[in-house]
């Protein structure tokens, strides 16, 4: 009986010690990585796409700024969910060197885009995309596909599909705080920005 009581006491102590040990040894949950490390960023391909007024817009026009480049379409429900966020970001961060550029992949062109832009009160530049630009940006398997580009014209994160608003905000804040890397620019990447991004992922 004495032996059994001792065993139980020992087992109890061992369990409590184990639990305490687990708590003490648990590593802190790492913060979610919202942008790639500098060394992993590739240059965003430049493009020349027209806005609703027929004016050519180049990615290079936004050199030195943080750019949120959103490939979307009027027929894309998840895109519609994100657009009010981007309108808010444009208002909130514009004065700190930030621009949203929406690249519409609508086959029907401005006939479809213009009423949508008015209805959604989109306050940022919208251009009409084409297959060439889509291919340059990795083929755009699905929409929305959104690239967050740093002040040096490099892709800091890619989001395929409906993303988390906070991830965008955290990435923008982080990139706005960082200075442009000397020598970084918006030069065209020969091999596309990110051959390894996949639908449903963000990196």
């Amino acid at each position: 009986m004495q032996t059994l009581r001792s065993k139980l006491r020992f087992a109890g102590i061992a369990i409590v010690a184990g639990i305490l040990g687990l708590v003490a040894c648990s590593p802190e949950r790492p913060a979610k990585k919202v942008v790639r490390d500098d060394s992993q960023r590739k240059h965003a391909p430049d493009f020349a796409l027209k806005d609703a007024n027929g004016k050519l817009v180049h990615l290079a026009d936004f050199q030195g700024k943080v750019v949120l480049l959103d490939f979307w379409a009027t027929w894309c429900g998840p895109c519609q969910e994100e657009i009010p966020w981007f309108t808010e970001f444009q208002r909130k961060y514009k004065d700190r060197g930030f621009e949203v550029v929406g690249v519409s992949m609508d086959d029907d062109g401005w006939k479809a885009i213009n009423p949508f832009v008015a209805r959604k009160k989109i306050n940022y530049r919208v251009v009409l995309g084409d297959d060439k630009t889509g291919d340059q940006y990795g083929g755009l398997e699905a929409l929305p596909t959104t690239f967050v580009i740093d002040r040096s014209g490099r892709i800091a994160s890619v989001h395929v599909g409906l993303a988390d608003k906070k991830d965008f905000e955290d990435a923008i804040e982080k990139l706005l705080e960082a200075p442009a890397v000397p020598g970084g620019d918006s030069s065209v990447s020969a091999n596309g920005p990110d051959a390894d991004h996949r639908a449903g992922a963000h990196s």
């Binding site: 379409a73 027929w75 429900g77 998840p78 895109c79 992949m105 479809a112 699905a142 395929v160």
Partner: protein
């Protein structure tokens, strides 16, 4: 990866001049995907659309599948969609001057699919019915 809508082959339709032929074909979307119904809830959404473009018959009404009202994470309101296996039925008139023998009625089915987080470019796939007019 973009979903592929599969259309099951339709057995040869045997009919005769002056008759009405009703033809149904089955289409299947992979699990987890939906396409807008032929009457989507928003004017910007691309409807499921069947068009008969060539052949001896005259289409005289298309019956689309009954839409499901489904709620997705990206939409405040339920959307009118089709999922899984669904059927589309077309009523054809066979003209009195339709040529005898074997022929085909050809058309296209346009759809635009999404899952709960992303959408895929609209696609147009061919549909074809083999005919035998007597």
């Amino acid at each position: 990866m973009a979903p592929t809508l599969t259309i099951a082959p339709v057995p040869t339709v045997r009919t005769h001049k002056g008759a009405v032929a009703t033809v149904t074909f089955k289409a299947v979307l992979p699990p987890g995907f939906h396409a807008n119904s032929n009457t989507p809830t928003d004017a910007y959404l691309i409807p499921l659309t069947l068009k008969w473009t060539g052949g001896p018959l005259q289409a005289d009404g298309i019956t689309y599948p009954k839409a499901a009202q489904e709620k997705y994470s990206f939409s405040e309101k339920p959307l009118s969609v089709v999922t899984g296996e669904f059927e589309i039925t077309t009523k054809f008139k066979v003209p009195a001057d339709a040529p005898n023998g074997a022929s085909a009625e050809n058309g296209t089915l346009r759809y635009q699919a999404c899952n709960d987080r992303m959408c895929f470019a609209p696609k147009t796939v061919p549909v074809s019915i083999s005919l035998s007019v007597e």
